[in-house]
Amino acid sequence: MKINTTINGKKHCLDVKANAMLVDVLRAAGFKSVKFGCGEGMCGCCAVMINGKPRNSCITLAGLAEGAEILTVEGMGNPENPHALQQAFAESGSTQCGYCNPGSLIAAKALLDSNPNPTADDVKDALDGNLCRCTGYVKRIDAVLTAAKAVKKTSKTVRGKK
């Protein structure tokens, strides 16, 4: 079966098994930031944005992504040009083993997209599906709040330049 999706802004036509999960399809297509964790929707490692909403790709059949826009961490930024969230995660030490980071970053980006001024409680609520078993949660919450400020600053200067 073929599915047509837009991944990180680029169109892809992927040949998939009808019962394949999106996580496996994305990884096979080279998007290795997407991690396989529990495989049952409990840990959030596999989170990707589907049409702007973060969801667990391990319990999402690839067929459901037909025509959808998908965002993975590769589409957020890279080491040369990181997203404010990636920068804040790195600088705050929110990353030890790093396995949960891609999913957490996607959930955090979804939060900032809909709410540029989150409180710590908003961050906890938005990242409630992303388990972290080594770093813990305090640094990650701080990182999202720091990034929110940075995003606002850059969008202000961009607007100022216009």
Binding site: G41, R55, I59, G129
Partner: protein
């Protein structure tokens, strides 16, 4: 899992969706959020009908007498809704927010949650205490039935193979009514061990309407009709609520699972029923 699956259909209307269902030539099933369908051990299904793009199934509409929620509405939209207000709306928001996590709530739909009927399906006791009705569509023809009837007979049996849940309708409740929901689980996003929903309407100094429903602690969601009868017509007192809670805990057939013993759950159930009734009563007075 889903080993025979070969294709997906992407209907845009309810009528189109129903056309793909109930066919003799091809075994099909509805998929909405896909959170339970994806993991199904069923190896006979050949095609899935993705109803998540049917626009007429995705809405939250509120008017003076009712709340209408489209079956394919993700429960996250219920949780974050700014239109849902009052005792009924607030209850739905609270319950939706207690389902799984953000990532799951963006997938799980109101209709999928109702059709799949698991003990841990948190919205089910809420629909029961709100006297919710469900609109079932079989192409154009539709029927509207109480959610309680659908649940008592199990949706898979109650509905025809080419019938789908289209909408859930909840009458809004006005002043004098209070609602409450308690979820007891090992962690904030683990599956529920006990859920209790309550609704109490007070006029003058007596309870004119009482609703109480449970899930998770039981095998399937139940409405506690006897407890409701014990409450209606009486003065709302702490003693009455304690008596009702004891009676409910004694009579309920507690489900066994690995998380906790039946005895333990029965004790917690009594506390939660009492608390829910007290809380609903306080809110009814506001």
């Amino acid at each position: 899992m889903l080993k025979k699956l070969t294709r997906f259909y992407y209907p845009e209307t309810i009528e189109d969706a129903c056309k793909y269902l109930g066919s003799k030539d091809e075994k099909t099933a509805v998929i909405a959020g896909g959170t339970s369908e994806a993991l199904r051990q069923d190896n006979s299904i050949e095609a899935l009908v993705d109803i998540s793009r049917v626009k007429e199934l995705n809405h939250i509409r509120v008017d003076s007498s009712s709340i209408r929620i489209g079956a394919a509405t993700p429960v996250q939209n219920i949780y974050k809704s700014t239109d849902l207000k009052g005792p009924a709306g607030e209850l739905l928001k609270t319950v939706a927010g207690k389902i799984g996590s953000t990532l799951l709530r963006n997938s799980i739909t109101a209709g999928g949650n109702l059709a799949a009927v698991f003990p841990w399906s948190d919205l089910l006791p809420a629909w029961l205490v709100l006297d919710a009705e469900v609109v079932l569509r079989k192409g154009k023809p539709k029927r509207t039935v109480p959610v309680e009837n659908l649940l008592n007979e199990k949706p898979a049996k109650f509905m025809a193979p080419d019938e789908i849940i289209a909408e859930i309708i909840v009458p809004t409740a006005g002043k004098g009514t209070g609602t409450s929901f308690c979820k007891f689980a090992k962690t904030a996003n683990d599956y529920s061990m006990i859920t209790v929903a309550a609704l109490i309407s007070i006029k003058g100094d007596s309870i004119v309407k009482a609703r109480l429903a449970l899930n998770a602690v039981t095998i399937a969601p139940v409405r506690c009709h006897e407890a409701e009868k014990m409450l209606e017509g009486k003065k709302p007192t702490a003693q009455l609520f304690a008596e009702v809670a004891t009676a409910v805990a004694e009579k309920t057939e507690v489900r066994k699972d690995f998380r906790a013993s039946k005895e333990y759950k029965r004790e917690v159930l009594e506390v939660l029923v009492r608390r829910s009734l007290e809380e609903a009563c306080v809110r009814a007075g506001k």
